[in-house]
């Protein structure tokens, strides 16, 4: 395509909520404008997108450690107490024959958060290095990070249901362990991390004619 121009390079921007195309001040790309049609805040580019995303990614890694080391559930049954971390829960499922459930938990709780954080770091570094490498594929990678994060909530819901349901006094009782909170933190933080990354930055490096402040 011959004329590939971003809206910003022609002092225009689009509203995310109502798609109105409006003109903006050229040097005001980080300012929030109110959309004249729907009133939403319009950011031609998300302000401080890279540092905020980096900060959230690091915070998620910090939370990821206690989420995996501390127990997720504590089962009290007939005088015995059994504590399970995420991984020991997965191993329990695989050993007891329901390996597919073990895989679901492993993918949702271990693989997806790691995948998401790794992909976000890759995107952050590629944008900071002003990479020209396959923008279309990187845009697709960003869409993946946006989409998969919510599925990590599975384990949180499992704990919730177990805690709420199994409450039979002496016979059996299940409590949520401290890891549940940290893990919920990881999920929520990575959702916000994906939201704070501005995918338009990938394309800003592709057009050398764009004015950037």
């Amino acid at each position: 395509m011959s004329h590939q121009n971003s809206a910003l390079s022609t002092s225009l921007t689009g509203c995310h909520a109502c798609n109105l195309v409006m003109s903006i001040h050229e040097d005001a790309q980080h300012h929030a404008h109110a959309c004249p049609r729907c009133g939403s805040k319009v950011h031609p580019r998300i302000h401080h997108s890279l540092p905020i995303t980096w900060m959230l990614v690091c915070l998620a890694f910090l939370f990821y450690i206690p989420a995996n080391v501390l127990p997720m559930t504590r089962v009290v049954g007939l005088g015995q107490v059994q504590e399970d971390t995420i991984m020991s829960g997965v191993i329990y499922f695989i050993q007891s024959g329901s390996w597919y459930i073990g895989m679901v938990i492993f993918i949702a709780s271990v693989f997806v958060p790691m995948l998401k954080l790794t992909l976000l770091m890759f995107l952050l570094i590629s944008v900071q290095r002003k990479s020209q490498w396959r923008p279309r594929e990187r845009a697709r990678i960003y869409r993946i990070t946006e989409m998969v994060g919510r599925w990590s909530m599975v384990d949180i819901y499992v704990v919730t249901i177990l805690v709420a349901l199994v409450n039979l006094g002496i016979i059996a009782d299940i409590d949520a362990g401290p890891a549940a909170l940290y893990f919920a933190g990881v999920v929520i933080i990575t959702i916000f991390a994906a939201k704070s990354f501005d995918p338009r930055l990938i394309w800003d490096n592709i057009e050398p004619q764009t004015k950037r402040s």
């Binding site: 590939q4 809206a7 225009l12 923008p135 909530m153 599975v154 819901y157 709420a164 199994v166 949520a176």
Partner: protein, 208 residues
Amino acid sequence: METTAPLSEQPLVVCHACDMLQRQPRIAHHGSVQCCRCGMLLFRNIPNSIDRTIALSLAGLILFVIANIFPFLAFEAGGQSTQTNLVEGVRQLYDQGIWALAGLVLFTCILAPLLQLLLMLYVFVPLKFSRVAVYTRPAYRLFLRITEWNMIEVFIIGVLVALVKLVKMADIIPGTAMWSFIGLVFVVTGAAASIDGRLVWRRLDERS
């Protein structure tokens, strides 16, 4: 037969994902438009968009009520049995002092889907009768923001995993609420997918 307008008369559209400025092409009845640079879906023409949204939202509201009134799961072990519904489960968490988790589940599995259904009805029922409700703008914007926090489809997977885990400890009886909750997942997703946001703003533009 409609004649095609010259490209320069077509409205401008900006891609959310890559900021590409482009002219909106004419699209077929069932067609959709992708960004010419990054491939992001820009919009779709959905036949009977408003009717579908309202029908599915109403069905969703009915299923939501059933899912919250009837017992979700019953659990029997050693002659004792407990049964719980969604709100009861959240209260159980709250009573055990894990209020952050309780809040998260309450928000993502009860409040967000309910709000999403109510906002869809609030915006689209008046549109159906060629009216515009007051506060349509903020209502629709809130709808756009709340949808991603509705995680009932993830919750259902969580329920299935918990069932497998518990089946060895006790007898589990899935309740009415669980079946309607599964229905709710499909209905809410369908309702949100039938929305054509352009209709809302076009109608608002006509009024002002």
